[in-house]
């Protein structure tokens, strides 16, 4: 078994008085795609924000990434360690060009300029449309293109772990299929992936393993195939048709 790159232990996160995560534990191994499933408000995005140090975390919680404790660190200390995110709703900078958006990814990881070029080549090869539109403002791109841009920007950070927060949200079914293909491509580049999705079936199909999150607690876990085979679970927790 390959080594564990991210391990979350007894994580309790709060927004003011509201406890959004009630002591969850999970692991992500190097090279895996791990899907995190759950309905709206289950705490999926909170988990991502916790990993990035953007919400209040109770003491006693632990998030270990590549041997380092993340609890107590801020996002600007965590991103340089090699975690990058594709935020919910994409979070591209709409008033900046595609190129400028991609450049943001390079800001906080130290590597050679040669690697920068290589990464940019890689992004443009994976998303030819971004290359065509590299001078266009991100706000003028379609939803699918913006999603590609957000993934590309994240790739530019040369991350060890890429977290994607609902990448299929608001996209047409054909585009969704494209996005999931992209995620597989990214994994094939050797980047570990933590994927948060409501689109359970698609997410489990590409996942090595999955966790089900229900109102702040992990209620089920297993390999992608196992969870996918559990019709009852799919119906009850994920709201998808059999």
């Amino acid at each position: 078994m390959s080594k564990t790159i991210l391990s979350v232990n007894n994580l309790v996160s709060r927004y003011g008085p509201i406890t959004a995560l009630k002591g969850i534990s999970l692991e992500v191994n190097e090279g895996e795609i791990v899907s995190l499933l759950g309905a709206n408000g289950a705490g999926k995005s909170t988990l991502m924000k916790s990993i990035l140090g953007m919400v209040t975390i109770n003491s006693g919680s632990s998030i270990k990434f590549d041997g380092q404790e993340l609890v107590g660190k801020k996002s600007y200390q965590i991103v340089p360690l090699g975690i990058s995110i594709v935020p919910e709703g994409r979070g591209v900078f709409i008033a900046k060009s595609v190129e400028e958006n991609l450049e943001v990814g390079t800001f906080f990881r130290t590597r050679t300029p040669a690697r920068d070029k290589e990464l940019l080549e890689m992004v443009y090869t994976s998303f030819p449309r971004l290359k065509e539109r590299r001078r266009q403002l991100a706000g003028t791109l379609s939803g699918g293109e913006q999603q590609m841009l957000a993934v590309g920007r994240s790739m530019m950070a040369d991350p060890k772990l890429m977290m994607l927060d609902e990448p299929s949200m608001g996209l047409a079914p054909l585009v969704v299929a494209e996005v999931f293909n992209v995620i597989k491509t990214v994994r094939d580049m050797g980047i570990t992936i933590l994927l948060v999705e409501q689109n359970a079936k698609q997410a489990l199909k590409i996942a090595d393993r999955g966790y089900v999150l229900t109102t702040g607690e992990i209620t089920n876990s297993g390999t992608g195939a196992e969870l996918l085979a559990d019709d009852e679970l799919i119906a009850a927790y994920l709201g998808a048709k059999k």
């Binding site: 400028e100 943001v104 800001f107 706000g139």
Partner: protein
């Protein structure tokens, strides 16, 4: 005559623009109107004057004063504004009004209420250029202001820290997720805006003398210029400042100098009536 009026207008206008730039960057980054901006300018002016009186060469005094004012800006952000930031927009606004009063009245106690002469970097004696009387001081003010605004633009578009400041102010949440230290960027923005105010003060004071209440007129114009051009927009601040300056000068010259301020605010009302976002602000649409 027309040439004189326009030159005067451009001189004042570029000073308004320089002040407006400080207002506009803080608005964009911290989401608040900084009513203390004019008084930060005044404090910067007095710091410069104090150093000049110690027989330090003028240019060196100004550099030290700009740095000192920037540090005061940093401190104000850290010690006061940050504390109220999370309560509400109105509280933040009132906090800046409070800071403004403290600075102004503090200055009256420390430096006295008498206007004090302030040495100019540029000669005040007009020279003849192709039949026109041109004051090197006017040209100097215009050039310094324009250079600073262009430099600022380059800083925000070419330098990594500047780009990060720009991103943090346009979309704080996404910027933080990308690893930008948003709170640090705000802090820098406020400091730079204070430093710019000090330079503006050093350019204005030779014309108006250094006085604790010197911010009254220009502070308001800075807001008007920033809003006229489209608040949050660097070029808007420049354009707004120049328009106000020239309109004022022409109005005062050809109609009556008693209504000098009225002309600039009439223009402001008219522009806001026609284009409520200000001249250069357009809504950047996200197609989604």
């Amino acid at each position: 005559m027309l040439f004189q009026f326009i030159l005067n207008g451009l001189t004042n206008g570029s000073l308004y623009a320089l002040m407006a730039v400080g207002v506009t960057m803080v608005y964009k980054s911290l989401g608040m109107l900084n009513f203390a901006h004019g008084d930060i300018m005044m404090i910067g002016t007095f710091i410069a004057l104090t150093i000049i009186k110690l027989k330090v060469p003028l240019f060196a005094s100004l550099i030290v004063a700009v740095l000192a004012t920037a540090i005061i800006g940093f401190l104000l952000e850290r010690l006061i504004l940050r504390r109220v930031e999370f309560s509400s927009f109105i509280n933040l606004l009132i906090a800046t009004v409070g800071v403004s009063y403290i600075l102004r009245n503090g200055a009256m106690v420390v430096f006295g209420t008498n206007p004090q002469r302030f040495p100019s970097l540029f000669s005040q004696f007009p020279v003849n250029v192709a039949g026109f009387k041109v004051s090197p001081q006017s040209i100097g003010i215009i050039l310094v202001s324009l250079t600073l605004i262009v430099a600022l633009h380059l800083f925000f578009t070419r330098v990594k820290v500047g780009k990060c400041m720009e991103l943090a102010s346009s979309d704080a949440q996404s910027a933080a997720m990308m690893g930008i230290n948003v709170s640090h960027m705000r802090f820098l923005t406020f400091g730079i805006s204070a430093g710019l105010a000090c330079i503006a003060g050093a350019l204005i004071a030779p014309l108006t003398y250094a006085r604790p209440d010197m911010s009254a007129a220009i502070g308001l114009k800075a807001f008007a210029a920033a809003i006229l051009g489209g608040i949050g927009n660097l070029w808007g601040a420049l354009l707004g400042g120049i328009i106000l300056g020239v309109v004022e000068a022409l109005g005062a010259g050809y109609i009556s100098s008693a209504y000098r301020d009225a002309f600039s605010f009439l223009v402001l009302f008219f522009v806001l009536f026609v284009k409520p976002t200000g001249l250069l602000n357009r809504k950047i649409e996200n197609k989604l």
